[in-house]
Symmetry: C2
Subunit: 210 residues, 2 copies
DNA sequence: AGCGATGCGGATGAGCTATCCAGTTAAACT
DNA sequence: AGTTTAACTGGATAGCTCATCCGCATCGCT
């Protein structure tokens, strides 16, 4: 059920609209459908037929990013180090949220209007759950952390990074905050005699250093 | 320079406006000045003269809460346990942010339009800095945490709690997330032989349990 | 009571959202 | 190639919210 193939001109306009919207999102401008129509050089009706609301357009813009993220998540499932797998995934998630301004609103919105997006959110959340449970079973992560907490916490980290100010250093800030959350703000009691590690030498190294 | 005493009717209207705005904020409705005028039973002009923008009104609404928070912060400075002092302050901050919907926008907005608010934000931030530095000097908190990170992190925790869904359990969720941030998500290596505590038995007990 | 200054209120224009339909175009059929 | 028709286009326009402006009412003082 692919909802019928678009006519050629329709497809062309669809592409243009999404492309312009992408640019606007990237420069931080809120999406206004009439404005987009003007920029694309099309009528307002065309835009509104393709995307009944600004939110719908935003969701479409966000989809590729969500897809990429999901792919990376599934890739992380292949990692045999549960701690690193989780940390990597969380890092990617936070980076994406901070980099792509379309994600935050889409994540926050409870709209299940676009089936594709809902599906992706579902997929992401279940990958996250899986990774979290593995890490927990490996004793790397506190047991009192629910999968349901994962999304809010990541959103929180991303939000914190955007509040911080300087958009240039935003990704770096987000990484720092994620680390802070993982490691905790309190100093840790000094390591026990570097022995009796429970199968793993404490928490895995810092998330990712690429 | 108290900017002239208001005329009696003006003062009355001012109060009404702020009061109605407070109610709206509490029920989660976004402030619309024309709407408020209608509810108060006054002309639009009156509202706009007192508060040139919705944000200004919001800041006014937020002020009492900010004042209370500042007071509590200064109170925390009297605590001789630096860890507990910081934890208490942060807990109060997060609770306030989650409880009072006017805080988040005001904190995020870089508007220095209302001098009183700016002043309060300053005060809060310097109290936070002081508390953080004391805790750090006492070895309770990681050294790589800048005072500038405090506000963003608290906003992040609050935001995470509001993303989570259920508004009823929001305060509780916020506390949990703050604890998560303080203690870290990773499991801690088991305590060293309950000795060599740096003047204090590890991180202080959970923030506050009132 | 009379008089300025201060504050009030709502009519109003500007800007944005979203709809609707007459006109145009792509593509299937002959 | 010519015809048909379903799909798509574009912009005029109605509905709505924001914010301003200014003639009029009210206050506080003498």
């Amino acid at each position: 059920m692919t909802t019928a193939p678009l006519r050629k001109d329709a497809a062309r306009n669809w592409e243009r609209i999404v492309s312009v919207a992408r640019d606007l999102v990237d420069e931080g401008t809120p999406l206004q459908l009439n404005d987009i129509a003007r920029r694309v050089g099309t009528g307002v009706g065309t835009v509104y037929r393709h995307f009944p609301t600004a939110e719908a357009l935003l969701e479409t813009v966000a989809t590729p990013t969500l897809e990429a993220l999901t792919a990376q998540g599934e890739q992380a499932l292949a990692d045999d180090d549960p701690g690193r797998a989780l940390a990597d995934f969380l890092t990617r998630t936070v980076e994406a949220q901070v980099t792509d301004a379309s994600l935050a609103p889409v994540t926050a919105a409870a709209t299940d209007a676009l089936p594709r997006t809902t599906e992706l959110k579902q997929a992401l959340s279940s990958v996250g759950t899986e990774l979290l449970e593995r890490a927990r079973d490996a004793g790397v992560v506190r047991a009192d952390l629910t999968p349901a907490d994962l999304v809010p916490l990541m959103c929180g980290v991303a939000y914190a990074a955007t509040v911080h100010g300087a958009p240039a250093t935003r990704v770096e800030t987000a990484r720092r905050y994620l680390t802070a959350l993982l490691e905790g703000l309190y100093v840790r009691p000094e390591r026990p005699g570097a022995t009796a590690a429970p199968g793993r030498p404490g928490p895995p190294g810092s998330p990712r250093s690429d």
